[in-house]
């Protein structure tokens, strides 16, 4: 068992970075440098932790780096951190997305505040993924809304205020149900154990409840996560929010924060209320399949690139939800892997769209045509990212998607078959978008645009490398995820989960 100090440092470093960036804001450009240094340190540390992580820890199964400090016994408030195979990838993703956002989507207006909010967001997200205590998770889950709101409303597009407000209130309302559920569960557990009020994940996993209670609590938890991911029909905040957010904001939101929803669904909803699964499975599977197909359908008709990626994300989150809920171990591992892969892919999309927007002044599809001629490097990288999203074998997206589909087919064949249609749908809207934007003859302003410069290429390199590497060699990553999924399933087994 490694020391939890690593995790605490991971949470505190961005906070310190934000503080220092605020202190040096008078010197132009210095806060950006501070942020960049912080992000590199954070990523290095995340990778170190990922390598150090060992899936076989005595007494704690697959949990490593654990520690718990009770802050207030009567309130049940505690600082409790831990890392397992499922949160491992999310931790790395958090650090990676920060680096990509800072390097690829810099915004020089009021830079100190901008990087400050980004760093705070990273810190809070990291804390959410690393927390082993349900209440602590909730607190940081809610806290991530604050920097997001300010990023969108301060640096976004024309309708940013409306988008930020809609995003904040919609997510916050969903979380209200989550809060009630958490409190109820905590008190239920206290009543059963006749001990102190605690929200520790391990403790709450042991709470026993009637089937009806489990269903209500699951729904309460699931509503918040369904809004966050998003899952149909709670998705309407995401197109406008992703479109109006600044590029760094879009990247953080879709690549990272959306995963808080799926992570919460897997870790807390499924992990704590297995009894409810058998009843609620058909409903959630149906919503997931609708997300996949409906998201792809609308993406075909949407007029701008950012909304297209938003609907594409809706479809991908549908796949993730499918894998989490379907009750197959293979599918669940696929879902965890897809959470990471989709983060990388969607970061790639928004980075390229951001670069194009800087050159063309718009992200509307009708303003772009034939860009492959003047900008072949952008076209090539966009193609790689696009093919990964479509699920071309040899690239990362395929491995995760395939695992989900083959697992789902085994437990719920009809839903699996319907979801497989999503494979064609994804190709349809992405190739159609590619044709309109990159192929054809470029004229006027489109013919004049500059191809990717060196800095932009370097930002996109890690994206491409990860996409290819995880497509050809997913083995080391899968080895780290599987034991933790096993452990989760072990607990969920009474609900009928297949190997």
């Amino acid at each position: 068992m490694h020391s939890s100090i690593y995790l605490t440092v991971l949470i505190v470093v961005p906070l310190l970075g934000a503080l220092i960036a605020a202190l040096v804001q008078k010197t132009p450009g210095l806060s950006y440098v501070v942020a960049v240094v912080t992000s590199c340190v954070e990523l290095a540390l995340a990778l170190v932790v990922a390598v150090l992580y060992s899936p076989h820890v005595k007494g704690a199964g697959t949990w490593d780096f654990m520690s718990r400090h009770v802050l207030s016994a009567p309130l049940g408030l505690a600082y409790d951190v831990g890392l397992d195979g499922i949160s491992l990838l999310m931790m790395v993703l958090t650090a990676l997305v920060l680096v990509l956002a800072l390097f690829g989507a810099r915004d020089r207006r009021q830079e100190a505040a901008f990087v400050g909010w980004l760093l705070l967001l990273t810190s809070f997200t990291m804390a959410s993924f690393l927390s082993h205590d349900v209440l602590e998770f909730f607190i940081f889950f809610e806290l991530t809304l604050v920097p997001s709101y300010f990023l969108i409303s301060g640096w976004g597009g024309a309708q940013r205020s409306r988008a930020a407000l809609k995003f904040f209130i919609y997510t916050f309302t969903g979380s209200a149900f989550l809060f009630i559920g958490i409190l109820y569960l905590g008190f239920l557990n206290q009543h059963q154990t006749q001990g102190a009020l605690t929200f520790s994940y391990s403790a709450l996993q042991g709470a026993s409840m009637t089937h009806g209670t489990a269903v209500w609590l699951f729904l309460a938890f699931a509503v918040a996560f369904a809004v966050k991911s998003p899952i149909f029909p709670f998705h309407t905040w995401s197109p406008i929010t992703y479109a109006e957010a600044p590029t760094a904001g879009s990247i953080e939101l879709s690549a990272l924060l959306a995963k808080l929803g799926s992570y919460g669904l897997l870790r807390f909803a499924v992990g704590l209320f297995p009894l409810a699964l058998a009843t609620l499975r058909p409903l959630i599977l149906t919503l997931a399949v609708i997300s996949i197909l409906y998201g792809s359908l609308v993406a075909c008709a949407t007029p701008d690139l950012k909304r297209l990626v938003a609907y594409s994300s809706l479809a991908q989150m549908g796949f993730i939800t499918l894998g989490i809920i379907t009750g197959s171990k293979i599918a669940m591992v696929g879902a965890v892997l897809l959470m990471f892969n989709h983060g990388v892919i969607t970061a790639g999309f928004f980075l390229i769209i951001g670069f194009l927007e800087k050159r063309r002044g718009s992200y509307q599809i009708k303003d772009m045509k034939g860009l492959q001629g003047p900008a072949p490097v952008f076209a090539a990288i966009f193609t790689v990212v696009m093919l990964a999203s479509i699920g071309l074998p040899g690239l990362s997206g395929f491995v995760s998607e395939y695992l989900i589909l083959i697992g789902t087919f085994g437990t719920h064949a009809w839903w699996g078959a319907a979801a497989t249609l999503g494979v064609v749908a994804a190709a349809a809207y992405l190739l159609w978008a590619y044709q309109r934007v990159f192929q054809g003859k470029a004229t006027g302003a489109n013919a004049e645009i500059a191809d990717a410069n060196a800095k932009e290429r370097w930002v996109l390199v890690p994206v491409v490398v990860l996409i290819v590497a995880l497509g050809v060699f997913p083995h080391p990553v899968l080895d780290r995820i599987s034991p933790s999924v096993n452990q989760l399933i072990h607990h969920v087994a009474p609900a009928g989960v297949k190997k």
């Binding site: 998705h235 075909c300 008709a301 171990k329 040899g394 087919f409 085994g410 192929q439 599987s482």
Partner: protein, 623 residues
């Protein structure tokens, strides 16, 4: 042997990476030499592997590369299976690819994206080899999708043409629909046999229930129709002619489109478990062959004729698979690779000499100007028409004999198709090489020139192969034929009485008669005319209005639903509900606001009323 097999696979990838890494620094000549060289080397290694395999007692060998995916009960390795079927496929894939790479050096000379073309070609060959050498369905799928995406890139190579871009997208999407079939087949097989490994599946094939077997076979058929351009997913292939001619020759004649047939043959032990599945396959094959042949008779573009001809010939192969004549299907596949590549490359030579003209109405009389293209094309024409003793006669004859043994109605359809084949190919030949010269406008008055040696050498080689190709599976050569070689790999087929020798001679005679009839008919009709409303029909020219049908039933309705969803359902219905909640909240707030009227007396009244309620409650509670 293991190293040889791995090298066969990796050589094209090495070529790809080398050219990719060296950026713009390489000359056209260097790129051409490297790209062609690696494929030629692959071919040489395949020949070595072939002889090694002949000497191997097991006639089958697994080469493990690395552990790819291992989750729960799903274990998939990146591994190769070297057996007669895969080596046969490798032989003609690498051989023909090498010839086409050589040809492309001449054809694509001076093109702006010369380097990119060869990058895609090398990557394509790598994917195709991965497809045929894989030892499990998932790695096959990697190769399957790989050739699909390379096809997408190569068809839309002239990306600034909207028609090319659309054609590439269409090819990819139709392939993807077929891929759903392969995915579902994989899922069904995995959950029934717990493995995706070919050898594992074949051992467990006997345990498959009839329903699962039939569903799997139908799913595999769907995949095959997508990749091999059969009904109902064939109409992407003619559009794919937008790509450069070498692409059409390699991908859409000789290699990628045969992948579907290969898959079905590879999975023959599973096919053996489903008579209904096989019957469906046979019908699809036969009908496609016929329909495509009818369409080819009315096409004006030389490449489109050849495209539909490909669909038709693959229909024959699928038909052969359906009746269980697997080795006949492979035989025709190999012969078809020879003569179709020859015909496509020959047509490329013609197009090249006429500065890009592809309309046959503007050709004619080219025989005397193209001294190498003309005779090689002639051989290709005779071969595909089924004239003995060329390869086409033996291969098609093998297929038709087997069909006759199992299914007479489909045999009749096959013979009619053979007549049509001879007819439309002869029509093409006459319009292009004989008759009056109609191309002077395109060549600006000059004479057309023959192509350089890099382009004509492959033509000669392919012509020789077309002449001699029949030798690999002569009906009377037992012990030294393709069928014998492949036998251990193929699934069991229910035994049907083989035709007697007399019957075989009779069938051969019918084949020849059909070919000659079609040939003579075309010569007599098309000698002097270039268009004819009597012998050409708009219905046939427009592919039986297949594209329009799909557009009307699937394309347009889906587009309307998508637009409707984006413009109405999203903002007004779903988001409307969300905004509705916000609006309702605001309205109720407005309503409640009225309580705060600001009038002190009203507040006082409220207090009094509340007070009264409390008193009543307290008094009532006491009692």
């Amino acid at each position: 042997m293991a190293h040889v097999a791995t090298l066969i696979l990796l050589m094209p990838l090495v070529g790809y990476l080398f050219v990719l890494a060296n950026g713009k620094g390489l000359s056209e000549r260097a790129i051409g030499v490297v790209a062609t060289g690696v494929v030629a080397l692959s071919f040489v290694l395949t020949v070595v592997a072939f002889f090694l395999l002949l000497g191997h007692s097991d006639r089958e060998m697994t080469v493990h590369l690395f552990n790819w995916i291992s989750v729960g009960s799903l274990h998939v390795n990146a591994a190769l299976l070297v057996d007669p079927l895969s080596i046969t496929m490798c032989l003609f894939v690498t051989g023909i690819s090498a010839l086409i790479h050589l040809y492309s050096i001449g054809y694509m000379k001076g093109e702006k994206d010369f380097r990119k073309f060869f990058l895609y070609l090398n990557l394509f060959v790598f994917s195709m080899l991965l497809l045929v050498l894989a030892n499990n369905l998932l790695v096959t799928f990697v190769g399957w999708e790989g050739v699909g995406v390379c096809s997408y890139w190569l068809v839309s190579y002239y990306f600034d043409r909207d028609s090319a871009a659309s054609a590439g997208k269409k090819a990819f999407l139709y392939n993807r629909v077929g891929d759903i079939g392969l995915l579902i087949a994989m899922f069904l097989l995995f959950h029934a046999t717990h493995t995706l490994n070919y050898l594992g599946i074949f051992h467990a094939a006997g345990t498959l229930s009839p329903t699962v077997a039939t569903l799997t076979v139908l799913a595999l058929l769907l995949a095959a129709t997508g990749k091999s351009a059969q009904i109902p997913l064939f109409n992407w292939l003619p559009d794919a002619m937008e790509g450069p001619t070498p692409v059409s020759a390699l991908i859409h004649a000789a290699t990628m489109v045969t992948a579907g047939v290969f898959l079905l043959v590879r999975m023959s032990p599973v096919l053996a478990m489903s008579p209904d599945g096989r019957a469906t396959i046979a019908v699809i094959g036969g009908v496609t062959a016929f329909v495509a042949a009818t369409i080819a008779t009315s096409q004006k573009d030389i490449k489109k004729v050849l495209a539909f001809s490909t669909v038709s010939q693959i229909g024959y192969m699928v038909l052969a698979v359906g009746v269980g004549a697997y080795s006949a299907a492979i035989f025709l596949m190999i012969a078809h690779a020879f003569f179709k590549a020859l015909l496509f490359l020959g047509s490329g030579s013609v197009i090249h000499s006429l500065n890009g003209e592809q309309d046959m109405r503007k050709m004619g009389g080219l025989a005397k100007y193209l001294p190498l293209t003309f005779p090689t094309f002639l051989i290709g024409w005779l071969t595909i028409s089924g004239i003995p003793p060329f390869a086409g006669f033996f291969a098609k004859g093998d297929v038709l004999t087997n069909v006759f043994e199992h299914n007479k109605p489909l045999w009749v359809l096959g013979i009619v198709t053979a007549i049509l084949t001879a007819y439309y190919m002869s029509r093409l030949f006459v319009l292009t090489f004989r008759g009056t010269e109609r191309f002077r406008e395109d060549t600006h008055g000059h004479d057309p020139h023959e192509s350089p040696w890099v382009m004509t050498l492959p033509l000669v080689v392919l012509a020789v192969l077309s002449i001699l190709g029949g030798l690999i599976n002569l009906p009377w050569a037992h012990g030294r034929s393709l069928a014998e070689f492949l036998n251990p790999v193929l699934g069991y087929v229910p035994h049907v009485a083989a035709a007697s020798t007399a019957a075989q001679w009779g069938l051969a005679a019918v084949d020849v008669a059909a070919a000659v009839f079609g040939l003579l008919a075309a010569f007599s009709i098309w000698r002097n005319i270039t268009e004819s409303s009597r012998y050409e029909s708009s219905f046939l020219e427009h592919v039986w209005h297949w594209d329009d049908f799909y557009d009307a039933t699937i394309g347009r309705p889906l587009t309307e639903v998508a637009v409707f969803s984006d413009e109405v359902i999203e903002p007004k219905v779903i988001d409307g509900a969300v905004t509705g909640i916000a609006v309702a909240t605001r309205n109720s707030a407005e309503g409640l606001r009225k309580l705060q009227s600001g009038f002190a007396r009203q507040y006082a009244l409220a207090m009094v009323l509340g007070f009264a309620v409390i008193i009543v409650y307290l008094v009532a509670r006491v009692h």
